[in-house]
């Protein structure tokens, strides 16, 4: 019988929420298995039940303080269908879109500037006190200015249409409750050119940092995977609406043009006893082969083009090494994320010069339906909501599939790759610890959304034998 031992790292720092990593070793010290545990439990799908359907878009955004807008809009899109509305007014559609582009912009800015860029600027092995946004402020003050202003601008877009930066109120079943006023628009117009320019500067910085260490970064935590994203009917990237496309590791389409109503036909969920997070898979490929990745890397890999000029140039540059095939480098998710950030900035600018945002036709009505399903590309990838409503307009069933859940298997596999490459002996070195965190962080996991535990645990590293006895424990406050 092969004896196995287990290393536990808990929690991972600089991700949104809390996680825990277990590395199970064989008797010879090699890595047998890794598990990225999620210990949080939110329960939104249960306590939404019994609420009037028009309240849900406001309630579900309390899931998250990072991407509440994505939950707000995804729920509203599902409730549009329950309200019998398949197509919004032009103004309502564009007002929702500019809010979502503001969300994508600010969230991707937080991740790249605050969470990811310190690893690239100071190196994975850099001292922890320096390898943080504070280090960026002290050593790269211009980058800190970009970070602060881009995030602030995204929040300003959200506030302009939603009234508040966090947990805004905009979308209602069948439309929106306000347009963008000329005064609000003009304030944003005065700032948007600087935001687009600084997102472009951030892209150049990201590319330079990646190219300086390309050999290591291309291989770091890298896995070949399938990808799933929402794509517009003409193949353009579209983070607000479109059909679902899945491509395999070689870029071949697995499915395309799938509608939210077909979700259960193409995506299955596997439950594993050790995680609160499910493991989604592409049904046609089965549980073993059907895992996939979502998020910026999937968004850039799946689309045929990006309909804004600077981001499209960046996409062509990004995909050039793959010669048309998907880019699989796990850490290139940061590069893809900055492309998506730039795209969002360009889209916000485009919409700020679109007079439809000042239109007066805000809502439309239809014939009530018992069920509605919708998806949206949240900053971290595919977000899906489905609701059933009874004759009294009360929600009887809800399903929420969030981006981090879709990346569950991929995170585990990237952690395993890093563990295989960097674990020597039975010692949890700083290098190993940092590298696991870097791999997990590449997916920008938002664990408060992704689970269905409350708790705030200290950093704990444990080495356990197969019988559960602890061989060593290491804590980091």
């Amino acid at each position: 019988m092969i004896e196995t031992r287990k290393i536990v790292i808990d929690p991972v720092t600089r991700i949104e929420g809390h996680g825990k990593v277990t590395i199970r070793l064989n008797e010879d010290g090699s890595v047998a298995e890794t598990r990225f545990h999620v210990v949080e439990f939110r329960g939104f799908e249960r306590f939404i039940r019994g609420r009037p359907y028009w309240e849900v878009a406001m309630i579900v955004q309390r899931l998250c303080g990072i991407c509440p807008v994505s939950h707000h809009l995804c729920a509203a899109k599902a409730m549009d269908k329950i309200a019998g509305v398949d197509r919004l007014t032009v103004t309502a559609d564009k007002v929702r879109r500019i809010m979502h582009y503001g969300q994508v912009l600010q969230s991707n800015a937080v991740h790249f500037f605050h969470l990811a860029s310190p690893d690239l600027l100071f190196g994975f092995e850099g001292p922890a006190e320096k390898r943080s946004f504070v280090g960026t402020i002290e050593n790269y003050p211009e980058v800190a200015k970009w970070a602060i202003f881009v995030r602030k601008f995204g929040q300003s877009v959200i506030k302009a249409v939603g009234g508040k930066k966090i947990h805004p109120s905009l979308a209602i079943p069948g439309g929106v409750n306000k347009n963008l006023s000329i005064a609000e628009r003009d304030v944003l117009r005065g700032e948007v050119d600087r935001v687009v320019a600084w997102c472009g500067d951030a892209l150049e910085l990201c590319k330079r940092l990646i190219h300086e260490d390309a050999v290591r970064l291309e291989d770091f935590g890298t896995i070949e995977s399938s990808y799933v994203s929402v794509v517009r009917a003409d193949g353009a990237i579209d983070v607000y609406d479109g059909g679902r496309r899945a491509i395999g590791p070689n870029g071949a389409k697995i499915f395309d043009g799938v509608t939210p109503e077909m979700y259960d036909d193409v995506i299955g969920d596997e439950v594993r006893s050790w995680s609160y997070m499910k493991f989604p898979y592409i049904r046609s490929l089965g549980k073993e082969q059907g895992w996939f990745r979502v998020g910026p890397l999937a968004q850039v890999n799946c689309c045929d083009f990006i309909d804004t000029p600077q981001a499209e140039n960046a996409r062509l540059d990004f995909k050039r090494p793959g010669d048309g095939n998907p880019i699989h480098a796990t850490l290139y998710q940061h590069w893809a994320r900055v492309i998506c950030m730039l795209h969002a900035a360009e889209k916000v600018k485009e919409l700020l010069y679109d007079d439809d945002l000042q239109g007066d036709e805000l809502t439309i009505s239809g014939e009530r339906r018992p069920e509605g399903a919708a998806w949206i590309e949240a900053p971290r990838g595919m977000l899906y909501h489905r609701y059933r409503v009874d004759e009294d307009d009360l929600v009887t069933n809800a399903k929420l599939a969030v981006a981090t859940t879709n990346n569950n298997e991929a995170i585990n596999r990237s952690v395993k790759k890093v563990a295989i490459d960097y674990l020597t002996g039975h010692e949890i070195t700083d290098v190993l610890l940092n590298n696991i965190e870097v791999a997990v962080r590449a997916y920008d996991p938002c664990l408060s959304c992704a689970t269905h535990a409350l708790g705030d645990m200290p950093l704990l590293v444990m080495l356990e034998a197969s019988d559960g006895t602890t061989i060593a424990t290491r804590a980091r406050a």
């Binding site: 949104e16 943080s132 200015k145 602060i148 966090i166």
Partner: protein, 161 residues
């Protein structure tokens, strides 16, 4: 002489009853539409608040206070010199002020008003006593705005927690 640029940052969670005193105060001040006064109501202070702070002459942070003087207390705020206290979910007034100085080279005068609260359970709506304290604090803040009172009148140090 131009008016001083005043920024009011009220923060806290309105879903935790009296923890919403800060946002409630900011919203009440915004409703006054005072010239030269900008307000922000949010769940917590954010790093990007440093940008607005840097564009102000006077900053008033408003938070709920779980203990201390009734109806409210005022403390001067000094910029943090050690910015490593930053965490994405906890940003202190001192840190925002310190960031303003580090990134933008300007540190305005700043005070923290801690309005005494009593109920912090999971529910919306201020308690009656907190509401009364808010009213008293708003009288003081409005007088600061129109120049009748100094921004900082307390010699206490530290901050409400």
């Amino acid at each position: 002489m131009p008016d001083a640029r005043i920024l009011v940052l009220g923060y806290g969670n309105p879903g935790r009853r009296d923890d919403g005193l800060g946002p409630a105060a900011a919203e009440a001040i915004e409703a006054l539409s005072l010239r030269g006064v900008r307000t922000s109501a949010n769940y917590q202070l954010m790093i990007e608040d440093a940008y607005d702070v840097a564009e102000s002459d006077v900053v008033i942070f408003i938070d709920a206070s779980k203990s201390g003087t009734e109806p409210y207390s005022i403390w001067p705020v000094q910029p943090a010199t050690n910015l490593s206290a930053f965490a994405s979910h906890v940003v202190a007034p001192e840190l925002v002020l310190g960031l303003s100085g580090s990134v933008y080279g300007h540190v305005p005068r700043a005070s923290l008003i801690g309005i005494r609260g009593y109920a912090f359970d999971f529910e919306e709506g201020l308690s009656a006593r907190a509401q009364a304290n808010l009213s008293s604090a708003l009288v003081h803040i409005r007088n600061v705005m129109i120049g009748r009172r100094k921004v900082i009148e307390s010699s206490e140090s530290g901050a409400p927690r």
